[in-house]
Structures are given as structure tokens and as C-alpha cells.
Symmetry: C2
Subunit: 304 residues, 2 copies
Amino acid sequence: MTFVAAPEQAAWVARVLQRLEAWLERRLPQQAPAQLHEPMRYAVLDGGKRLRPLLVWAAWEAVGGASDADEEAPVWSVAGAVELIHAYSLVHDDLPCMDNDVLRRGKPTVHVRFGQAQALLAGDALQALAFEWLSSPSWAQRDPARALRLVHELAQAAGWRGMAGGQAIDLAVVGCTLDQNALEDMHRRKTGALLRASVRMGALAAGASGAQLAVLDAYAQALGLAFQVVDDVLDATADTATLGKTAGKDAAAGKPTFVSLLGCEGACGYAEALLEQALAALKRLDADTAQLQALARWVVRRGR
Amino acid sequence: MTFVAAPEQAAWVARVLQRLEAWLERRLPQQAPAQLHEPMRYAVLDGGKRLRPLLVWAAWEAVGGASDADEEAPVWSVAGAVELIHAYSLVHDDLPCMDNDVLRRGKPTVHVRFGQAQALLAGDALQALAFEWLSSPSWAQRDPARALRLVHELAQAAGWRGMAGGQAIDLAVVGCTLDQNALEDMHRRKTGALLRASVRMGALAAGASGAQLAVLDAYAQALGLAFQVVDDVLDATADTATLGKTAGKDAAAGKPTFVSLLGCEGACGYAEALLEQALAALKRLDADTAQLQALARWVVRRGR
């Protein structure tokens, strides 16, 4: 499901995505060993809605980052790095010992195409590459303290406190009933941490103040949770062709979801309330937040 | 197989290891989610010869790093981070889709004890934690340019150019014959890159000059290759109880090794020649390199 923006945002999205795809195409490895770079490139290129890089860009611009930043600017490394972490997590998540999924972004999953061992290693190498990009001397040496903070944000979001921790909880709660607090804690880690980091890192790369960061953080936390609520609704209601990944997985796996907790209508209402929270936070920012607003609306209303 | 040093080095090794184990024990996560921190701790604590952290420490001291550095000093984060990368690579390497091994460091492997999905996630989280430690604000903010360089060194050593790339080649060459150049290229990546990074990062953390780094790099490259040559000899000649991991795996898997290429005697002679190269490099360093020498001798003569 690709991003469909309101007409006034469509040009912005198209421009960022076109430059992003070209940047990723150039920066992903193409040298030996081919056994590794082929599944790495397959996992990242030509697919995905690129929500996280778009959030990086929107946050960067909202706090004054140049909209025509050249490809050496930190915003590209940040946008690329969060997408690599996202892509690696999908590769590992699709493995037979995890979700055992065969379809992703409308294509065979990496292990179906290249084998399990290659998928495992490609995921591992994508995570390392994310940190390589963030610490890339070409720009990072100009402001190493800022670059180092970005490394720290991403490492925390990807690791045991964040994404990996959320996935471990997700495995453990199959067949369990969770109350809303426990369900939200899991998703704040599993999906929310990286979405939040995308916004925070885009803003930090552009030199956000503490006050700006606090506002954007409130936006990002509401958006991250809304994303998962809507994901649960889509998993329960959309078909596989629309999603580009297998639909109905959560119910089939006996996973607790916002739909199982609140019902479809309740979950949709909760997502709308979270959207209002996200938009209200942005009003406290003295800046052009049109793209951040549009992305939040898209997150909540995609698939409708 | 634990490190057995000559008497004059034994006290140094014992002191570093005692402090390292205590540092790791305190710094590895113990909070929720337990589904993740238990396999993470199991993978890292109470086992392994800690060669990489010892190399970090020996290089740190050789270029003037304090031998009584407190636990906030960069040497600890570096020593811990390289050990996390090593530990995660073993967890993933032991998975059924890779080497499918059940014994490591004399204990059941992580996936045997905790399940495959938990092992996969624990490995992923250990990699992220390595970068979290390296970018930890407590010391990194004091010299962010240096910390950032350490991040970059580790990311390159762990990623597609280094360890992950070497493992991908290793998978692809089962049943093949490699010439010595190709075999060495594979091992320079697979095992050599992280051993080399350990020496380089220990030295960089202590503020090594370019000239010092060049000498230590020559030492580390020879040592890294010697390590693998000896590993191949041990795999072919030692028993499982001595190794603490399954012996005879390489021949059983039809992997090209230095023993299959040079014979046992030829491989042992090559390891001794590499040891001489490593020791010769150290003579160009105007410093006390006793620990680096002892570690190189141990790498080549362990198991004898």
C-alpha cells in the first residue's frame, strides 16, 4: 500500500521518494560478496511505503532543515538508516521461526527467494549498515556530537528497550489476553519506537531545540500508537492483495490486537482520537508542519 | 578452552577478565522483557575465552591507556561492544538454518535453551546494544569524534564488508575448493575483521597516532588470520570436550579449510609464520607490548 497524499502534499512526497530511492540505490552495496548484497538490496529496494524516511524528512523540514539538502546532508543518512532497520526487522520477522511469511510488499519474502541463512545474514548486515551510514565520516565528522546522539537514538529504538523487545513480547503473548496498557506497551516498543525515532532523529539532524523535540516527540508517540491500531484494523478487514502482505495473520495466530480488545469500531475511534492528539501537539510548534500533519492523517486513514 | 597465559601474563589476564565479567554482568539488561534479556545474558555471560576484549585491553594499554581505567572509561564500552558482536554472531551462526549446532562454550546453544525465535531476537538486540554502548553519552560526549570513529570501525567490521560478508561466503563455498587467496579473503572477513577491529578500537580509544595504528593493524591482521588457521587445525584434531563446541564440523560439512588446503603440518607451520609476522610488527612500536605478544602466542599455540 503506497502513500496516497492529498494533492497539495503529493508533489512533496513524490520528490522525497524519488530522491530517496536513488540515494538508496547508490548507497546499498553492490560489491562482493554477491551472496550478501543481493538479498540486502532485494530487502530494501523497490518496495515499501517508506513511512519512516518520510517522517524523517518531514521532521527535518519542520525544524528548518533545507528542503533541497544535497545527498551528503545528514537527513539522507538518517532516512536511509531508519529504513534499513525497518527492512532488516521485516526480513527476520518473516523467517519460518518467527512469522513464517512468504509474501511481503507484494513479492516473495527474502528467505523464500534467497534461503533462510542468507536472509538471516542480510538482516544482520542491514542493521550494521544502518550504524555505518549514521557514523559515515563525510558529514558526521562536521558535527560528531550530533551524529553520536543519532547513533544512540537508533540503537535504543532498535534494541531490547524498543523494537527487538517488543517483538520478544509479541512472541510470548500469542494466545494470551492483554489489557490495554500491556498491549500498548508492547506496540510502543515493537512499532512505536522506530517511528518515534524517525521523527526525533529527523528533528535532531536539523538541530532541533529541546522544546521543539518535546513537541515532536508527543506527535510521534501518538502517531506510533495510531499506526499499530490501524494496522490491527487492516489485518482484520483488508485483503492480502491490498496489503501486499498476508492478511488475517494476527487472528489466525491468536495474537491479542486492538481489534480483539476494542472491536473494529472501537479501534477505529481510538485511532482517530490518537490522530487528534498528534495534530494537537503540532499546533504547539511554530513552524510549517503541513507534511507531518498529512503523514499522520495518512497513517490513520490509509486503506479507507 | 580458556586462556592459559605464561605466569607473568596470568595476573594481567585474570585482573582484566574479573573486571570485564563484573562490568558485563552490571551492564547487560535485566529489566523487562525477560523473554529477551534472559537469552541475551545467557549468550554473553559465563563463557568464552574473551579474546576480543583482551585484545582491546592490550592495545589500549600498549598506546598509553590507563591500566586502572574506571568503569566509565571508553575501553570498557569498546571491550563490551566487540564481545556483544562476537556473541550475537555465535547465536545466529548456531541456528538450524546456519550451522545447526547444539553445543557452545560447553553449554546448550541459545536456540536449544530458549527457542529459535528468541535466539534470533536476542542476537539482533545484542548487535543494537553494542552500538548503544559505544555511543553511551557518559563518556562518548567527552570526545564525540573519537566515539563516532569507534562506531564506524565496528559497523564496518560487523557488516557486509566484514563478518557478515565472510559468513555469506562461507555458506556459499561448502563443497567447493578454494585457493589460498580466496580462503584468506573469506577468513579476513569472517573472523579477521572483528579481531582486527578489537585491536584497532582499543588503540583508538586510547588516542593512538596514525603510526601506532598502522603497526597495530599489521599485528592484528596477522593475528586474525593465524587465529583461523589454528581454528581449522583444532577442528580437525581436537575433541569436542576440549573445544567446548562440536569438533570435526568443517570436514563433515565439506567446507574448505587451511587443513584441507595445506595439510595439518603445513597449516601449523603457516600459523607459526603468521605469529612471527605479528611479533615483528610489534617490535616497531615503542611501547610495552608484552600482553599483545602473549595473546598472539596463545592464539597460535592454544590446544597444544
